[in-house]
């Protein structure tokens, strides 16, 4: 379960990197299309970058964060649940910020900044479990300072 936890957290962190990449692809795609005379309006379908960003951001990463939350209950690593909960929370905030930004584009700046928080939280979660990987399973049953957050 620990390696699953670690893999999920790692995938979320990689997902954030991909989101930075896809949104750059989206914008350069728009500018390139406009250079070629295209009109962007309400009826315009998403380009490759926009589609990927939407799928990763609204489905893939939230599902990974949910799975991380579920898996965290079985890792028996102190702090694993807390970190998974934090990752899920900042992912939800990230999605909400995205939708709020359609009406108030200035919030898009927070969407960009919060992405780094998602990546940081996922990285910390991964490291949290990594440090106890290799230690005997029962070792985690010992009372530890970070074990406060429970199921």
């Amino acid at each position: 379960m620990r390696s699953t936890y670690r893999a999920l957290a790692g995938l979320i962190a990689i997902g954030v990197v991909l989101q930075a990449a896809t949104i750059a692809l989206a914008w350069f795609g728009v500018m390139n299309d406009v250079d070629g005379g295209a009109v962007y309006d309400e009826g315009t379908e998403y380009n490759a970058g926009q589609s990927l960003h939407a799928i990763l951001g609204m489905i893939v990463i939230p599902v990974l964060a949910l799975l991380l939350m579920i898996v965290s209950f079985f890792t028996k690593v102190p702090g694993a649940v807390k970190w998974a909960g934090l990752v899920l929370l900042v992912v939800v905030v990230q999605v909400l910020l995205a939708f709020a930004s359609f009406g108030a584009p200035i919030l898009g700046t927070l969407h960009g900044a919060n992405a780094l928080v998602v990546m940081g939280a996922a990285g910390m979660a991964s490291r949290r479990v990594q440090s106890s990987v290799g230690a005997p399973e029962q070792a985690t049953a010992q009372p530890t300072a970070g074990a406060g957050a429970g199921a």
């Binding site: 005379g37 009109v39 309400e42 315009t44 609204m58 209950f73």
Partner: protein, 477 residues
């Protein structure tokens, strides 16, 4: 434990969001009587209920205007320099389809033939307050016309103005891809000025006016006047501006503006589905009407070289334009007052998780069914807190704008059938329920409609024999 409860709740919400494969509009939504007399939502098929299929135009009589429109799937040829043909739909081999012209009082008959559109087609007469059976909404007022079938629409052209027609079957896809055309109803006495029809449509990123990209020249003598009938067939607003001469906004959504004054240096925002008639006097150098995306009309003598102004920042505002006039009824004596509150929240739409539109807090199909009786004076407060603009379109009726964000309309009566309600805005409108039937009241960003931003205005005692979904493959959105 808490997590399991949360998961159970999500599962239950998901289950509750599922829409049956086939359903009747009679059983849809949550009946809302708007504070008026609560009368039975006539769910009974047959009985004393009036079927929408009986609410037709005149069944007999020679039509004054007769047209056959053949719908086909295939390539749409776009005119103008550098245009590319796109996959889409045509009517009589063109998109936009032919301009249908009638005079006020004419009996119009249109035979729609579906030659090769796989999903089936219908024709909705956007902005024309036709009898309900002629409204062209698949699954509500008729069955979709499948390949090899045909359907005849007959109605009297009662109100002069600028209108359009489009399919209301899988409309979010069919309209975008060209299944549309324009309808002009001229005043009975004949038009006072020559007109130019300017249907604006974007085909796969190519902004066109009357099916042509770029600039088009329209011959007009200096000193003459022209009425430019701007029709926005897109999913989003089209910004229109005039360079080289002042203009008057003489009509909005097929209703004349009272006392239009000259306008200069302002952009007119035409909502999706909306129409705006602009009148210009042609100067020696001609005049340019721009529609964004490089599409424009130059009206003038053959050698006219009209200026190319940038889009003015200032917006034309119909709320204060023109002079007040009698609207023919008293909105303060309303029989019913409805609320149409648009929001957006996380939830399930027919089992799909997402961030969906809500009407009065609920996701489709738990949306209001606004119930009225013939003769009612109806007020509706439309508000939007969803983060995006919604061009709200009511079928079969015109409503008059009373106020926006608490500021009363102070200009000409502003009648609409397609009204942009921007994020954060609240409009109060009023109408007379004078056209029995079951009428869609939906967002004309047709993607949003397909995402559930659809409600209905329904007359007590009217029911529909048609069904959405099922064997007839009716999918109005």
């Amino acid at each position: 434990m808490l997590f399991a409860v949360a998961l159970g709740f999500v599962g239950w919400t998901w289950w509750g969001s599922l829409v049956p494969d086939t359903y009747s509009m009679d059983d849809m939504g949550v009946a809302d009587f708007g504070g008026g007399e609560a009368v039975a939502h006539e769910a009974a098929h047959g009985g004393s209920a009036v079927g929408v299929d009986t609410l037709t135009g005149p069944p007999d009589g020679e039509p004054d205007v007769s047209e056959t429109l053949v719908a086909r799937a295939g390539k749409v040829e776009i005119g103008g320099d550098g245009a590319r043909a796109v996959d889409g739909y045509t009517l009589n081999d063109t998109s936009p389809g032919p301009v249908i012209r009638a005079k006020q009082g004419d009996l119009v008959e249109v035979r729609l033939v579906n030659e090769s559109v796989p999903d089936g087609v219908t024709l909705h007469w956007h902005g024309v307050d036709v009898p309900n059976a002629e409204d062209g909404v698949a699954g509500v007022t008729q069955d979709a016309v499948q390949e090899g079938e045909e359907h005849v629409y007959r109605f009297v052209a009662e109100d002069a103005g600028t209108y359009w027609y489009h399919s209301h079957q899988v409309s979010h896809e069919q309209v975008k891809r060209g299944l549309l055309g324009t309808l002009v109803i001229e005043p009975a006495r004949g038009p006072s000025t020559d007109d130019v029809v300017a249907a604006v449509h974007t085909y796969s990123g190519q902004r066109t006016v009357q099916g042509m990209v770029g600039e088009q020249h329209v011959e007009a003598a200096a000193g003459s006047t022209r009425r430019v009938r701007v029709v926005n067939t897109n999913d989003g607003a089209v910004r229109t501006w005039v360079s080289g001469a002042p203009y008057r906004v003489v009509a909005v959504d097929g209703r004349e503006i009272n006392g239009p004054t000259p306008v200069e240096g302002k952009t007119v925002s035409v909502p999706a589905g909306g129409r705006v008639d602009l009148e210009v006097e042609i100067p020696d150098d001609g005049v340019r009407v721009s529609f964004g995306g490089g599409a424009s009309l130059v009206l003038g003598p053959a050698d006219a070289d009209a200026p190319t102004d940038d889009e003015p920042k200032q917006r034309f505002d119909p709320l204060t334009y023109g002079s007040p006039a009698d609207i023919g009824f008293d909105p303060d004596a309303a029989d019913r007052s409805f609320e149409y509150r648009i929001g957006r929240r996380i939830g399930f739409l027919d089992g799909r998780p997402g961030f969906w539109w809500t009407i009065n807090g609920s996701i489709f199909p738990d949306v209001p069914m606004y119930m009225v009786q013939e003769g009612d004076v109806v007020r509706m407060t439309i508000s939007n807190d969803s983060g995006k603009v919604h061009p709200m379109h009511l079928h079969g009726h015109h409503a008059v704008v009373l106020s926006r964000d608490g500021v009363s309309a102070s200009g000409s009566p502003w009648w609409v059938d397609s009204l942009d309600v921007r994020d954060g805005e609240t409009f109060e409108v009023a109408l007379v329920a004078d056209n029995p039937g079951i009428w869609m009241d939906h967002c004309h960003n047709l993607i949003h409609a397909s995402e559930g931003l659809v409600a209905h205005l329904s007359y007590v005692g009217v029911s529909t024999p048609f069904r959405v979904g099922g064997a007839d493959h009716n999918h109005p959105e």
